[in-house]
Assembly symmetry: C2
Homo-oligomer: 257 residues x 2
């Protein structure tokens, strides 16, 4: 992963990566307007590639274009995060279903199975350390990537990539958060059981079951989100948490746009 779709070693890419980093680290407050000129100086790029980078991040959803011109840092309320996770679950459910429906050769499951088996010992470690969690995260990422491969749909891959730009929507967003929780092992065991079940469902060509399982799997993240929202210390360990606005949004859930 982390292979930027268009790996072009240029000022533009540099600006995107660096600015994304800054945004996720909370360097700019939510809703704050980002000015081009000081930012260009800070990132050591000219305004032209910076402008391209700003547009890219706006399309990714981290920035918002103002009608009058310029960009502001987008902020997310808890409902947005929950919906982002829900959406990821829906898309991963679709991936799982497609994988089940389109599977032709059982041997194609090997990479997915390998990822599942790589996680197995890690969830059974009695006293997992940080290194264990990190290895789990790596294997987990591979699992989700292979699942997407199995779906065999470029369009779905695209939608997925779009949905996962927000770091707290990614499959691993709350894994490291759990590390400090007492119930972490329990959660990991459950997650791993779901991994196995998804693999099993795909192997049996049970598309609907695979979809339901993948959705439920994403709900684990939603559950962890609730935990993290109640504990500021936990929230700090979530990447991009700085973009989360805790205070109740004025309009709340309003229909119109």
């Amino acid at each position: 992963m982390s292979g930027e779709a268009m790996a072009r070693p240029g000022q533009q890419l540099k600006a995107v990566l660096r600015l994304r980093e800054l945004l996720l680290s909370g360097e700019f407050g939510p809703g704050e307007r980002v000015a081009e000129i000081p930012l260009a100086a800070r990132l050591s790029v000219s305004r032209t590639p910076l402008r391209l980078a700003l547009l890219t991040l706006a399309h990714e959803g981290l920035l918002e274009m103002l009608p009058g011109g310029g960009f502001v840092v987008r902020d997310f309320d808890p409902a947005d995060i929950a919906d982002a996770i829900e959406l990821r679950g829906v898309l991963e459910g679709t991936a799982a279903r497609m994988a089940a429906e389109r599977l032709t050769d059982p041997a194609d499951l090997a990479p997915l199975r390998a990822a599942v088996e790589a996680m197995e010992p890690l969830v059974r470690t009695p006293e997992p350390g940080l290194a264990d969690f990190e290895r789990y995260v790596a294997a987990n990422e591979i699992f989700h990537a292979r699942l997407l491969d199995l779906a065999g749909s470029p369009m779905l891959r695209r939608a997925m990539a779009q949905a996962m730009v927000l770091p707290f929507a990614s499959p691993n967003s709350f894994v490291l958060t759990q590390a400090d929780l007492p119930e972490s092992r329990e959660i990991l065991l459950l997650a791993q059981a779901q991994h196995r079940a998804i693999l099993e469902a795909i192997e049996a060509r049970e598309g609907t079951r695979a979809e339901a399982l993948a959705r439920e799997h994403a709900r684990l993240a939603k559950q962890n989100l609730k935990l993290a929202l109640g504990d500021a210390a936990l929230l700090a360990s979530v990447p991009g948490a700085a973009l989360i606005r805790r205070d109740p949004v004025d309009g709340g859930r309003k229909i119109a746009s």
Copy 2:
């Protein structure tokens, strides 16, 4: 709709709109490289805003960035289109389910009901003319927009917008195609029955049913796609059909020969 998210009256917007039009009309062959300088002259904009427009369309999925620089027109095979429609169905299903789950005041359903009722006489017209179809298309678009409103999820709205950039994935893509088909009235009646059922399910807070119905609703488009792919004359009436590559994929990406 057609409200460009950021309505900024500038050269950039002009370039985006005009270029998108050109791409969808098939002015450039699929896989063809688009050169900046002649294009800038053709669109009467400078290279700088054009560059921004190119990036925007690349993010939308109509263009692809080359590793070495520059852009090519993206092409889609039939499987891509089918998946795009499937994906739209999945997202609309999610919208319907959320609408059902989150409905608080039944009065909020009024706009959706109005759209359904606006379509009712149109599908019962014995000999529908082009004008009838166009009014149906307008009401249909409103229906889908209101459904999305009811979901009350900015994140879903975003994902939906992204998925519907491809014109053949939009709810109305094949409606006008049907106009020439003998079974068109039958299809419209079925579609309208689904509209009513979706409304009913949301009203009854039956989320799962609403989701299943919305998915099935999208499959009508998939069915029409199959019809259109078999008939070149029909395909010509589908917006953006020029981007569809009929021949089976081979891995190679060749540039206009």
